[in-house]
């Protein structure tokens, strides 16, 4: 009886913890649907009327900068860099897991070590290079940088997924005369598709979130969504509903990608160390 009672208590405690951690997000969502005057009351107005004004404001319906260029830039930078990452990491993972090069573990750890080099340390030379090459405020520069940021994660994740592909299947294809590109595209890729998808989602999240490089290297043209959000750092009178709407809209792709990749999220975040 006491064991059962304790079990229920711990279950309730787990629920309570989950709710406490989720509360700020729930409150953000609720506030985004309030009018500005209802959003800024103390004590908070939980039951105020709902409205889409915050979203209208954010999307620039009432004048003000439209977030669409920034959202489109973010989409371009994240999708393009994710595709480039897959294109580079998939063959590399093949050479590190199926037909292994000599010293393949050293190569893997070289990739990992680049991830541990703080991005901020390379920021200045990248900025000077971009300035001289006329690449400042160019979304393709971010695509290249985000690719280098995510490539180590992708190589590690992919090699652990590809290692699970049965060798016999690949040998059979080889005996039938298939060449490497065909084997990769027709045999390995379909088998490891769930892993590739999870890798892509995690790379997408990291690119979408990035602020420092985007802030330094872009201006009015190539500004990304996180940079657009920095416009809300200083208070602008009553703007709480607008901030909440903005934060939620910009986070939606990440929430969607994260929940879709939930099962493989740990593996990606721990660079493949934890399954």
């Amino acid at each position: 009886m006491t064991v059962r009672f304790k079990g229920v208590g711990l279950g309730l405690l787990a629920w309570l913890t989950g709710i406490v951690f989720f509360l700020p997000i729930a409150w953000m969502a609720l506030t985004s649907f309030h009018s500005e005057s209802d959003a800024a009351t103390n004590p908070p107005s939980f039951t105020a009327a709902l409205t889409l004004d915050g979203y209208r404001e954010f999307f620039g319906v009432g004048g003000g900068a439209s977030p669409w260029p920034a959202l489109i830039n973010s989409t371009m930078a994240s999708v393009a860099s994710t595709l480039l990452v897959l294109l580079l990491s998939f063959p590399a993972a093949y050479a590190l897991s199926i037909r292994r090069v000599r010293k393949w573990t050293d190569v893997l750890f070289f990739f990992l070590s680049t991830k541990m080099l703080p991005a901020v340390a390379g920021l200045l030379p990248v900025y000077l290079f971009a300035k001289n090459a006329g690449l400042l405020d160019n979304i393709w520069l971010l695509v290249i940088l985000y690719t280098s940021m995510n490539l180590p994660i992708a190589v590690w994740m992919m090699q652990s997924f590809l290692a699970e592909v049965p060798v016999a299947v690949i040998e059979a294809a080889r005996v039938d005369g298939a060449r490497l590109p065909t084997i990769l595209a027709r045999v390995v890729a379909p088998i490891s598709l769930p892993g590739i998808a999870a890798t892509a989602l995690i790379c997408f999240i990291f690119s979408w979130n990035e602020l420092l490089f985007a802030r330094v290297l872009t201006g009015v043209v190539a500004e990304t969504a996180p940079v657009f959000l920095t416009g809300f750092i200083t208070s602008q009178g009553l703007f709480l509903a607008k901030v909440c709407a903005a934060s939620l809209v910009v986070s939606l792709p990440v929430l969607a990608a994260g929940f879709a990749a939930q099962d493989k999220l740990v593996q990606g975040l721990s660079l493949g160390a934890v399954k």
Binding site: A14, T17, F22, M28, V107, P118, L123, V126, L128, V216
Partner: protein
């Protein structure tokens, strides 16, 4: 880090003795799929860092480009003696250690709670992960404006109900305000890693211990905790690597003011606003040295987990 890793890669491609051409051709065919990724990484990540090291030995203000000259280790002397910069080193350490430790402990508690069977476990897990899936800038804005605001923030709103005080959270404890927001985002990360650790425990061993009459505490102390140790290390070290580099929260919540400027923010500020290229580079190199110390341990932990997985195969 880069200096030690690169020769190892070079050694991997170097050949001990000349071989017949067909063998060499085959070796290159094996290497070919790897090369694009490897070359890309070396060019995009290693070259800029080498440039940073070179620039760090120059007195170079971007506003006076003609005055650029070699100064040896002067920039480093300045980074390590300037009170503001020294303070930012200390802030970085404090911020990283606090956030990592607190989110590790909280993450462990939540992971233990979620490792048990109860009604709605999947839902609670999803609720817990959500904070990690808010864009960092958005999360920082949420804490700054929606929770901390002294006039209409949720925290003071809730305090209002119980007749509590109405503190100005960010001005009163600026560093703590940044830390709390980061702990909220990083606890789910730790929880996920530790939960994976808990679920990889040897079930038969646990069962045997239970049959032998071990208490819950004994099982945790002598079986679970030793097993979790490496997952705790992994979470702590990966967390440190990300949080040492944190820029978004400091930039958004306090804009580096009120003594919360950490090294990444200082590097950003000294070249973006003060245009001190040499100084910024030296500060960047200091961040790297700090990261290398953490990374050396991190690589060891990852490689021990990795080898354990590879060896039975």
């Amino acid at each position: 880090m880069t200096a030690t890793a690169s020769p190892r890669v070079a050694a991997a491609t170097a050949r001990p003795a000349p071989r017949p051409p067909s063998d060499r051709l085959r070796a290159w065919a094996t290497r070919a799929p790897l090369l694009p990724a490897l070359v890309f990484m070396i060019v995009v990540t290693q070259l800029p860092f080498v440039a940073t090291v070179v620039i760090s030995f120059f007195d170079w203000n971007a506003l006076y480009p003609k005055d650029r000259h070699f100064t040896g280790v002067d920039n480093y002397r300045q980074v390590l003696t300037d009170p503001d910069l020294r303070h930012s080193v200390w802030t970085t350490v404090l911020l990283t250690v606090t956030v990592v430790l607190v989110s590790l402990v909280l993450g462990l508690v939540v992971a233990l709670l979620l490792n048990r069977r109860f009604r709605g476990r999947g839902v609670v897990r999803t609720l817990m992960i959500a904070p990690f899936l808010i864009v960092p800038v958005a999360a920082a804005l949420l804490w700054k404006h929606v929770l901390y605001n002294p006039e209409y923030g949720l925290l003071n709103g809730l305090l209002h109900y119980v007749g509590g005080p109405q503190p100005d959270w960010i001005s009163d404890n600026p560093l703590l305000a940044v830390e709390a927001a980061l702990v909220w985002q990083w606890t789910p990360f730790m929880m996920l890693i530790l939960l994976a650790g808990l679920q990889s425990r040897d079930q038969q061993q646990l069962e045997a211990a239970r049959v032998d009459g071990a208490s819950d505490w004994q099982i945790f102390r002598y079986l679970t905790f030793p097993h979790l140790r490496r997952y705790l290390e992994l979470g702590g070290l990966l967390g440190s690597i990300y949080i040492v580099q944190n820029f978004d929260a400091v930039f958004t919540i306090t804009s580096g003011g009120l003594g919360t400027a950490n090294l990444p923010y200082t590097v950003y500020q000294s070249f973006y606003q003060a245009h001190e290229n040499g100084l910024a580079s030296a500060a960047g190199v200091v961040v790297v040295i700090g990261s290398i110390i953490i990374a050396t341990f991190a690589l060891r932990v990852v490689s021990s987990l990795f080898r354990e997985e590879v060896s039975p195969a």
